[in-house]
């Protein structure tokens, strides 16, 4: 019989393991999706083969940005693991620029000239995924010499522009390395954005600034207009890059240096569709969309917006002023620019503005003050629903009459014996349902067990002492104990004055109880509920008067004290199981079973998450798809 049973058990177990392996196996084989049609474009630049895909060189983007991006882009944003790069790489960014018909990934690196060559060698060794600057790509002339841009992949539907004379196309603005003054930088910026179709990017976390840089190629649109894109990258203000700042962007010197990247994963990128009919840019709308996206990410209500643009206006509103009503790219001109955002330097974690594709301007995400459900709480809701389903399943099983096993909890079984012993010794029983108020679920559990103990005490007519730390619990306890005595027909033995309120003060209460214990010398002491530092004082005093002690609490920090000083201790959830344990009511036992089912689910998700994170961190599977999945998974789990 035993063998058969075990055999029976084995099948579902194996099935479960197989299902588990099957569920994660697709993740293990995801490879970077090859981008079709990259070749023609690359050929245009004289590149034979595309460089290797930038695995692992990604930038984390926030959930709003992902949502926004995935609503617009065919593929999601890539991420940069900045921490993986050597410090000498001042800036790394990876962005997908994806108008409806463009799908391109650009990666740009900026390095100090002296270490450039060294780093390329080093980069090759330490990070094989790091793309080298590709020869043949026309480098923008006005960019600092150390700036290299690589086109990594490109998507179909892009035709090279008829005239690609990037060098001549530049706006004649002062060359970046010579910029010293803020005004010049501003001029440079406005010159740059003047011809830019839109701006990608943002300003991020603490002490950083935004920077617009050139990203080829121009895109041909249906109306034969060409337009360029400017990308605003984030350049974080770290000590080692601050010099770069001042040089390129005219950053104000008093900008406080940031300590470090605060929460890189919190960067907010918003994508905004903005391709108005005549090519006019509606940057104001774009700015608004970005703000809304940011506000949404930060949980700031829309009506509180007015403060927010201040931090943004420095950059983008100016941009807007320069670009609105400008015909977008009636001639080929490419821009290099730096957009500064002085105001974000100290505080605003993230701001983002993006240009360009769909006919109707629309906000990136639904940021309205009201929504059906709070988005961050969706995972909680899912867990709640799963939990309810587990309980419902187990309860209905119990109701059908299936016998459900409940293991022996020795602490609860000992209650009756302890009361019996007290009766034999002619001494009383002391019961404390914790020191928290009735709004604490542990107190309710304590009061539930109290009803049971009270019945036994009533049956044996043993004095039942209940000092209370909360007056509200006192009145509930009086009711519960009275009911217990009533049920046992011992109303004449019921003494409400033994259920007394002492004080709310933790240690005042303890000294009161300790006094009661030494005077009355109860033969059994029970502590069920929330306890803090007083746990050991109570239990040791109880021990000194020779009482049998049973305790139960879900306060993890107090369990050791109870275990050390009491005869029996209910640990954590056992406290809540008491009512089902005593009543043997199938509905209640069903809920316990449901709880166990949920625990199994949690155990599996912990194991699963551990595997996923280990694989992701360990670089065993470095495919963007997997990394993306792992991050999303962890995000929801958090």
């Amino acid at each position: 019989m035993n063998v058969v049973l075990r055999h029976n058990m084995r099948i579902p177990a194996i099935a479960l393991i197989l299902a588990f392996i099957a569920s994660i196996s697709p993740l293990m084989v995801i490879a970077p999706k090859p981008v079709l049609g990259a070749e023609p474009m690359l050929e245009q630049f004289g590149i034979g083969e595309p460089p290797p895909p930038p695995e692992g060189v990604h930038k984390t983007v926030s959930k709003t940005a992902r949502r926004a991006a995935s609503s617009v882009l065919p593929i999601s944003f890539d991420r940069i693991f900045e921490e993986m790069l050597p410090d000498s790489f001042i800036e790394v960014s990876a962005q997908k620029i994806a108008p409806a018909d463009v799908d391109a990934l650009y990666i740009s690196f900026e390095q100090t000239p002296e270490i450039l060559s060294e780093n390329i060698e080093m980069g090759k060794k330490s990070m094989p995924m790091l793309p080298e600057p590709v020869e043949g790509i026309p480098q923008p002339k006005n960019l600092p010499p150390s700036y290299t841009t690589s086109i990594v992949k490109h998507s179909p539907g892009i035709k090279p522009p008829p005239v690609v004379d990037l060098g001549e196309g530049y706006v004649p603005v002062p060359t970046p390395p010579t910029i010293e003054l803020e005004e010049e930088a501003d001029a440079w910026v406005s010159g740059a954005v003047h011809h830019a179709d839109g701006i990608y990017g943002g300003s991020f976390s603490h002490s950083c600034c935004s920077r617009a840089s050139y990203v080829p190629p121009p895109v041909e649109l249906s109306n034969n207009e060409l337009r360029e894109k400017a990308v605003v990258n984030n350049l974080r203000h770290r000590p080692e890059t601050s010099a770069t700042y001042r040089r390129y962007s005219g950053m104000v010197p008093e900008l406080p240096p940031a300590v470090d990247l605060r929460q890189p994963e919190e960067d907010v990128w918003a994508v905004y569709d903005n391709d108005s009919v005549s090519g006019e840019l509606e940057m104001t709308a774009a700015v608004k969309a970005a703000e809304m996206a940011v506000c949404n990410d930060q949980g700031i209500a829309n009506e509180n917006l007015p403060e927010f643009p201040q931090s943004l206006s420095g950059t983008v509103s100016e941009t807007a002023a320069n670009t609105v009503n400008e015909p977008a790219s009636s001639h080929v001109k490419t821009a290099v620019g730096t957009a500064m955002d002085h105001t974000v330097a100290a505080s605003v974690p993230a701001v983002a503005t993006v240009a360009a594709t769909s006919p109707q301007p629309k906000p990136a995400v639904n940021t309205g003050g009201t929504s059906f459900i709070v988005p961050e709480r969706v995972p909680v809701l899912i867990i709640l629903i799963v939990f309810c389903a587990c309980i419902w399943h187990a309860v209905s099983k119990a109701r059908r009459g299936e016998a459900l096993f409940i293991r022996k909890i020795s602490g609860l079984s000992a209650l009756e014996d302890a009361v019996g012993r007290a009766t034999e010794m002619g001494r009383g029983v002391l019961y404390i349902p914790g020191i928290a108020d009735m709004d604490d679920i542990q107190t309710i559990a304590g009061v539930t067990i109290m009803g049971h103990v009270a019945k036994t005490a009533a049956e044996y007519e043993t004095p039942f002492y209940n000092p209370m730390a909360r007056s509200f619990v006192m009145s509930v306890a009086q009711e519960v104990v009275k009911q217990a005595y009533l049920e046992k027909g011992k109303m004449d033995a019921y003494r409400p004055d033994r259920i007394t309120y002492l004080t709310d003060d933790q240690f005042g209460f303890v000294s009161g109880v300790a006094g009661l214990m030494t005077r009355e010398k109860p033969a059994a002491c029970f502590y069920f509920g929330t306890f803090y530092a007083e746990s050991l004082i109570l239990a040791e005093t109880g021990n000194s008067v020779g009482a049998i002690q049973v305790s139960g609490t879900a306060e993890a920090s107090q369990i050791p004290f109870f275990v050390a000083a009491c005869d029996y201790t209910l640990i954590g959830e056992e406290l809540y199981a008491a009512s089902a344990y005593f009543s043997k009511n199938p509905r209640e036992i069903g809920t316990l079973k449901g709880q166990d089912l949920m625990k199994v689910l949690i155990i599996f998700s912990i194991i699963f998450a551990t595997i996923v994170v280990t694989l992701k961190e360990g670089q065993f599977i470095a495919s963007p798809g997997f990394v993306n999945f792992a991050e999303r998974f962890m995000h929801y789990l958090k």
Binding site: T370, I373, V374, P375, V380, L381, L384, F387, C388, D437, I441, I444, T448, G451, S471, F472, M474, S475, V476, E479, V480, K482, Q483, A484, E487, D497, T500, Y501, D505, F507, G508, V510, S511, A533, L536, I537, E540, N543, A554, A556, F561, V563, A564, A565, I571, G572, E573, L575, Y576, A577, S579, F582, S583, N585, E588, T591, G594, Q595, K599, I602
Partner: protein
């Protein structure tokens, strides 16, 4: 009767619980009814709790009065309790600031002014009373524009006189105004009258001073010390409990004791010395850094166990809450579940 004792509470629990869950997930604006309920109900709880406080105090006083009256054994303790209760209550009630008392503060009167630290009093004469500019307050509230501010603005009684600050001059023993030196704009020192604008709660009469001081003596001298004493008892109880409980009865308890020793050692500076000795053991010596092992123990085995207990307990509390919400669990209302 059963309806009031059982059905009604269960019904109220269900309705309120469900509403709160919906409100928790709802993304409605803060003005919507559901969100208003969410913010209002906790306030109701506070009010109910405040009433139970009265109930508790009454219960305590009555039971102890009865004990004294019947002269039950140990009624002396009850007398101590009653005296303590009333002394603390009276001192506490009158030591604080009463807005009503503001009306009695007269310009020209000599009072005592509590210093910033709340410890000592100085003799002062009231030389003027500044009232709040209610018009400005109202304008500021209206400008703020949020519902709470608007409500407050609407409720302002424009005819009322609300004391803002009281200007006092510090006096010496002979009731002469004290002087203090200040620097003017050019950095020159000059003597001026020692005048200060203070909040009204710092101005007290002789009776207020008495109450304040007795409250301080009771609170800082008795209550705080008694509290600290009880807390300190923990050290003694830890010693006796560990003496009793840490017995190597099995392999597990041996392991437990070993880790307890390591953590205890790691918590004291002696750990470094012990580690240095251990270092001298060949091969394994360098791995025996007590503090590192302690940190590892806390960070992994201990925190893993704690997390498991917490997950279990949280699930248990979720189940218990659901049971209460759905009325499966009702033994806290008395009687069988």
């Amino acid at each position: 009767m059963l309806f009031i004792k059982r059905t009604l509470p269960l019904f109220v629990t269900f309705v309120v619980g469900t509403l709160m869950i919906i409100a928790f997930f709802s993304g409605a604006s803060p003005d919507s009814p559901i969100k208003r309920i969410e913010s209002t109900l906790p306030r109701w709880t506070q009010i109910v709790m405040a009433f139970t406080m009265v109930l508790g105090s009454l219960n305590l006083v009555l039971i102890n009065l009865r004990k004294v009256n019947r002269k039950v054994p140990g009624y002396g303790y009850s007398i101590v309790l009653l005296v303590g209760f009333f002394a603390m209550a009276i001192a506490g009630l009158f030591a604080g600031s009463w807005r009503i008392a503001e009306k009695n503060i007269k310009v020209g009167g000599v009072y005592r002014c509590l210093d910033q630290s709340g410890r000592s009093f100085s003799k002062v004469m009231v030389i003027g009373i500044d009232y709040l500019d209610l018009e400005a307050e109202k304008a500021a509230l209206l400008k703020a524009g949020d519902p709470a501010s608007l409500e407050t603005a609407a409720g302002l009684d424009m005819n009322a006189k609300v004391v803002d600050r009281i200007r006092v001059a510090y006096l010496d023993k002979d009731d002469k105004v004290l002087k203090r030196t200040v620097k003017d704009e050019k950095g020159r020192e000059k003597e001026v009258d020692y005048i200060e604008a203070v909040t009204s709660d710092r101005i007290k009469g002789i009776c207020g001073v008495l109450m304040h001081d007795s409250q301080r003596i009771l609170y800082k001298g008795v209550f705080a010390n008694a509290q600290a004493t009880m807390f300190s008892l923990l050290a003694f109880f830890v010693a006796s409990a560990s003496f009793r409980a840490f017995r190597i009865k099995s392999k597990e308890s041996a392991l437990l004791m070993l880790s307890a020793f390591i953590v205890m050692l790691g918590n004291i500076p002696l750990a470094n010395t012990v580690s240095m000795w251990l270092m001298k053991i060949p091969v394994i010596g360098k791995f025996l850094d007590i503090v590192t092992i302690k940190e590892w123990l806390l960070a992994y085995p201990s925190s893993a166990a704690q997390t498991a207990i917490i997950i279990g307990a949280t699930l248990g509390s979720m189940t218990a809450s659901l049971k209460i919400l759905l009325g499966i669990e009702r033994s806290h209302l008395g009687g069988e579940g």
